[in-house]
């Protein structure tokens, strides 16, 4: 957990409203788990709150992020050009638990839209450890897909589009219903809109290893301000998305 000023090395649009961002600097020594995140300062002082983004990878001096422009902060970010300096704070939070997995075991990754970003890093780690990965990548429409070649080179990938322009026509749930009810996975990892995560928790309610990364508005990002709380599932209380998460098991919280 450290703060670094990194330099924008490259940025490119990889789908409508979706950008790949490569920052370079003194990051090689930063250990991280997929699912952990960094907080970027927006280069406009009217915007105080840092924006959290899941780490895709850190390789040598490169930090790799993928984000979608949803509001003003990400829009400003998407307009930054090479050479721009950005303050990055992290890695923060807890990544996806994987210690219990053994080579050759099968896992399922479920991504809704930009939820693919943190799962990408996880995918690479898992494959490197000999885990067999199946992916469901659900998006609104074909154009929103990204990184298909890379995904397909590492995993079996099912696509679903809400408008039927590519892959399965429907949502992730109906795809599973249609194609994956028989399959068994050692673990299920999810990231995406709240509705998707809730569906995952319901569908795999008896599964012991279901982990999803949540998104909540963050302020401090390290557990000191109580901004980001997520209702606990079992008792009357809260977890903090930033410090206790952003990856939670389905037993911990109400997604």
């Amino acid at each position: 957990m450290q703060q670094r000023v990194l330099k924008l090395k490259a940025q490119q649009q990889i789908a409508p409203n979706t950008f790949e961002l490569i920052l370079s600097g003194d990051v090689a020594a930063l250990a991280y788990q997929p699912g952990q995140f960094v907080m970027l300062q927006i280069p406009d002082t009217a915007h105080l709150l840092r924006r959290p983004f899941g780490i895709v990878t850190i390789e040598a001096d490169r930090l790799h992020l993928i984000y979608r422009t949803v509001g003003v902060g990400t829009k400003l970010l998407s307009q930054c050009r090479s050479g721009q300096l950005l303050s990055v704070f992290g890695p923060l939070g807890n990544g996806f638990p994987t210690a219990f997995l053994k080579p050759k075991q099968e896992v399922l990754l479920i991504a809704g839209g930009i939820g693919m970003a943190p799962l990408l890093g996880l995918l690479k780690r898992l494959v490197a450890h000999g885990i067999v990965v199946t992916i469901i990548f659900g998006v609104k429409t074909k154009a929103a897909l990204f990184y298909q070649l890379e995904l397909e080179s590492l995993a079996k990938v099912y696509y679903t589009t809400e408008d039927g322009t590519f892959g399965f026509h429907g949502n992730v749930n109906s795809l599973i219903e249609a194609k994956l009810t028989q399959a068994h996975y050692q673990a299920i990892y999810g990231c995406g809109p709240a509705g998707l995560l809730q569906m995952i928790a319901r569908r795999y309610q008896n599964h012991p290893h279901v982990y999803c990364a949540v998104e909540r508005p963050l302020a401090c990002g390290i557990g000191e301000c109580y901004a980001c709380v997520v209702p606990a599932r079992q008792q009357n209380g809260y977890y903090k998305a930033c410090e206790d998460g952003p990856v939670f098991s389905k037993e911990q919280v109400v997604f």
Binding site: M1, Q2, Q3, Q41, T45, A46, H47, L48, L49, R50, S87, F89, R216, P217, A219, C220, G221, I222, G223, E224, C225, Y226, A227, C228, V229, V230, N236, G237, Y238, E243
Partner: protein, 308 residues
């Protein structure tokens, strides 16, 4: 005494900078970033008699050069603070003065918390939070009524073993009666400002963004209001002031001190820059030199703030 040191009732500070209540929790995570001994003091999150779960989410929203929060005083409660949080600080940072921010839903809650928390060895002062805009009972409703402020301050000073700083709300027509009431009740000083009541609407749902509806506005956006409030209270009261509101640089801190503050708390800036407090402490001597301020204590002693 060094250039940066400053003395206030109950507080011998090696420098005038401290984190503001609620933006630094109980310091445990920030301690992983830097040595908290560098701080002048540490103000802990509002502590209530019982653990408090706080408000519905979302609890924050960004605004231009500011943010709204409606945390609703979530905190682990007096017992945990006394048994875990304060002892941890005492053990890790025995020299660090702690200011305990105290809140409650009724006078008896405040009194009990003040009595007990002031007995902790590292608690050197209490910040009486009568100004939180984000809770239905207590909080700001207390701080806008002079009679209540008088009674509450009096009841708390009667039982507290350490000086009490009353934390003022800017959400009033005139601060004068509140200040006089707190003085009459035995306040040792004031701490100001707490947040301003604000709101944002979500265009898609047409409802307030915050779960609580309204929230408290903080950050650089409110600095001019903080400066004015500090300036005003400094003109009507001789008690020392802990100033806060939008401070994010050493220049901001100096500006608040030139308006009349004897020490300065840094809140929202910690979110933008987790090293904000230590960065300010480091740059303070540089800016003091630039504006020919020999020492913080002399600045405070000599301060006659002109109304122009």
């Amino acid at each position: 005494m060094t250039k940066l040191a400053v003395k206030l009732p109950g507080l011998k500070l090696k420098n005038p900078i401290m984190p503001a209540s609620g933006c630094f929790g109980f310091g445990q995570r920030y301690a992983q970033l830097y040595d908290l001994n560098q701080l002048g003091a540490l103000t802990i999150k509002a502590t209530t008699l019982k653990p408090k779960l706080g408000n519905a989410t979302p609890r924050i929203a960004e605004t231009a050069s500011g943010m709204l929060n409606a945390i609703g005083l979530q905190n682990p409660g007096l017992e945990t603070v006394l048994e875990e949080k304060l002892p941890w600080l005492q053990q890790q940072y025995p020299e660090l003065p702690i200011i305990a921010n105290v809140a409650g839903a009724q006078t008896s809650d405040y009194v009990t918390v003040c009595q007990k928390i002031s007995g902790a060895p590292n608690v050197k002062a209490i910040e009486l939070n009568v100004s939180c805009p984000n809770v239905a009972a207590g909080g700001m409703a207390f701080g806008t009524d002079a009679q209540t402020v008088y009674a509450l301050t009096k009841a708390c000073t009667a039982v507290s073993q350490v000086p009490i700083y009353v934390k003022l709300t800017p959400n009033v027509t005139d601060i004068l009666p509140i200040v006089q009431a707190a003085e009459a009740g035995g306040a040792a000083g004031f701490s100001l400002i707490n947040t301003l009541v604000g709101m944002r609407i979500d265009l898609a749902t047409r409802k307030p963004i915050l779960g609580n509806g309204t929230g408290g506005l903080s950050g650089p956006a409110i600095k001019p209001i903080a400066i004015r409030m500090v300036h005003r209270v400094h003109q009507i009261s001789k008690l020392p002031l802990i100033g806060m509101g939008g401070v994010s640089t050493a220049a901001d801190a100096l500006e608040l001190m030139m308006a009349g503050a004897s020490a300065v708390a840094v809140g929202t800036a910690n979110f933008n820059n987790p090293y904000a407090c230590v960065d300010i402490i480091q740059k303070l001597p540089v800016i003091m030199e630039k504006y020919q301020v020999q020492s913080i204590q002399s600045l405070i002693n000599d301060m006659v703030v002109s109304s122009r």
